[in-house]
């Protein structure tokens, strides 16, 4: 039975780890380790997901339909074929966009209050 999906705004705010996982998957399919590397790179190493945090979040994201397991596997010569790749769904992208919009609003409020760091 198709699970009824919530309005993207109802899932906000996302936790930092979920937000960064969705952000990492926005460029294309990635496996667990790939997501970890992408998140560490995005955040200049400030967020390093542990295996438990990563797969706990993946489990919940799969459950709520924000990501799916990708059917296509890369060439076995290029990567370990046992790895599972994950893909952002259209619904996941909507939720991610809604979160980015929410953060942008907060940043513009901070800008109005002159709280953002000065551009060099």
């Amino acid at each position: 039975m198709q699970k009824q999906r919530l309005n993207p705004e109802e899932l906000l705010p996302l936790t930092p780890s979920v937000f960064h996982i969705l952000l990492a998957l926005s460029d294309g399919d990635l496996h667990g380790y790939g997501i970890m590397q992408e998140v560490a790179e995005h955040t200049d190493g400030q967020i390093r997901l542990g295996p438990g945090t990563l797969y706990g979040a993946i489990k919940r994201l799969l459950g709520s339909g924000l990501i799916v397991e990708a059917d296509e596997r890369p060439d076995p010569e290029l990567d370990d074929e046992r790895r599972r790749y994950y893909r952002l769904t259209d619904y996941g992208r909507q939720v991610l966009k809604a979160e980015v919009q929410r953060i942008s609003k907060m940043v513009s409020v901070a800008q109005r209050k002159k709280l953002t760091p000065k551009q060099t």
Binding site: G32, Y33, G50, G52, K59, R83
Partner: protein, 206 residues
């Protein structure tokens, strides 16, 4: 590397079985990838990596356990079971008190239903002592377990009442006793039907 992997696999035992079966191999693979990466970066990085991994397990394993418990139908049904058990106890106690009051004060309107109240108390105690443990300990359907238990218990009690009561009590009325057990059967079946409906609606949606 092998020893570290084995150690991490041991740490995975902290997670619920269901989660471990689904994501354990992936987690071990990710751990090995990260471990390989830190190996070339010296002792401090390696130690930090281990500390971070241990903290991650300590932080996430209880969350996954709680999540599994939350989805466990037995736990979800606990509330329904307690409510059902309490409802049955209340019915038995009320019927017992009514019967006692009616007999002491010879209240005709209560005594009119004496046989039914008697059957409700006796059949209620015996059948609920069978139904609740059976349903809670097994995966049997609550409604069908209740139905068959009530048929057997009410039938057996009616048979005993006919065999013993007709010999001991000269005023024994077969029809009244039978109606009493039929009323008891319908009442208890109704209560157990409501209970089974409550249990079904508390099953996980996903």
């Amino acid at each position: 590397m092998l020893l570290s992997k084995r150690l991490f696999q041991l740490m995975l035992l902290a997670y619920p079985r269901e989660f471990r079966l689904e994501y354990g191999p992936d987690m071990a693979q990710v751990f090995c990838d990260c471990y390989r990466e830190t190996q070339s970066q010296g002792f401090v990085t390696s130690t930090t990596f281990w500390l971070r991994t241990i903290c991650d397990v300590i932080r996430t394993a209880p969350l996954e356990r709680l999540d599994t418990l939350g989805r466990d139908s037995a736990m979800k049904n606990l509330k329904a079971n307690v409510i059902g058990l309490l409802a049955c106890l209340v019915v038995i106690v009320v019927a017992f008190l009514l019967l006692g009051y009616g007999r002491r004060h010879e209240v005709a309107s209560i005594l009119l239903f004496g046989h039914a109240l008697d059957a409700i108390v006796t059949a209620g105690i015996i059948s609920n002592l069978i139904i609740f443990p059976l349903v809670m300990a097994t995966r049997l359907s609550p409604f069908w377990t209740a139905l068959w238990s009530l048929v057997i218990v009410n039938g057996a009690l009616l048979l005993m009442a006919i065999l013993i009561g007709s010999r001991v009590d000269p005023q024994f009325s077969f029809s009244r006793v039978s109606i009493g057990y039929v009323v008891s059967f319908i009442l208890w079946l109704g209560i157990h039907w409501i209970w089974s409906q409550t249990k079904n609606t508390t099953e996980p949606v996903a």
